[in-house]
């Protein structure tokens, strides 16, 4: 059974600083997703990582995947207040287990001046 752990669970950042959220997963996963959730809102897809060494960037966020280490990272560059949200990573599979995403606990990010 796939288990996904994120750290840190809480992250308070100053605007302009850089930081990384880590996502470890327990068994081989075919794909790794990152989602963002604003308070009281639903989940917004950020990235889908499909292969070892995959790197994707959108604005101030960059996600990477190391399947050998079973680790994905979400790097935040020069944080701004608008990035304050909860970030989830989720592992998934193909085949008969297609569609079953296992989510981490989430990282609550607060960016302050």
């Amino acid at each position: 059974e796939l288990k996904v752990e994120q750290n840190p669970l809480f992250l308070s950042m100053q605007e302009g600083k850089n930081y990384t959220i880590y996502c470890n997963y327990s068994t081989t996963s075919d794909r790794l997703y990152w989602y963002r959730q604003d308070p009281g809102k639903s989940l917004e897809s950020l990235f889908v990582l499909l292969s070892n060494g995959a790197v994707k960037q959108e604005g101030r966020l960059m996600a990477s995947l190391d399947t050998k280490a079973r680790l994905s990272t979400l790097h935040i560059t020069a944080a701004v207040h608008d990035l304050s949200a909860t970030y989830f990573c989720a592992g998934g599979f193909g085949g008969t287990s297609y569609g079953k995403l296992t989510f981490g606990q989430g990282t609550i990010l607060t960016v302050h001046p």
């Binding site: 639903s42 897809s45 889908v48 193909g94 287990s97 989510f103």
Partner: protein, 118 residues
């Protein structure tokens, strides 16, 4: 394109009462998911549909929960009777399906139904 639509957005009921949630997926999305998200946690899958067939309901508490997806489009999730521990946000998501792009489709989530059982 329109996103996943869910209703109601909020529901407050007393324990032992029934409750139902409705979901309309993104047009053309064959796969539909129901998740439950407890406070401070990530979503957990309850059931997955491929068209009208429930292909994974292993996490659905079948003694009180039921779901249907008639005609392979809209879906309803029901709880009867509700218990205090059922208080959570119930999220519906959809994707194109396993056949699309080698089965690596992103799941798109609806706004959720926030359930409070008193």
């Amino acid at each position: 394109e329109a996103g996943v639509v869910q209703s109601p957005r909020y529901k407050i009921i007393e324990k032992k009462q029934p409750v139902a949630f409705w979901c309309n997926p993104i047009s053309g999305h064959n796969t539909l998911y129901w998740y439950r998200q407890n406070l401070g946690q990530g979503p957990e899958l309850l059931i997955r549909y491929e068209n009208e067939e429930a292909v994974d309901d292993s996490q659905l508490p079948k003694d009180r929960f039921s779901a249907e997806r008639l005609k392979g489009v809209d879906s309803t999730l029901k709880i009867q009777p509700a218990e205090l521990g059922d208080s959570a946000v119930y999220l519906c998501a959809s994707s194109r399906g396993q056949g699309a792009r080698g089965g690596k489709e992103t799941q798109y989530f609806g706004p959720g139904t926030r359930l409070l059982v008193l």
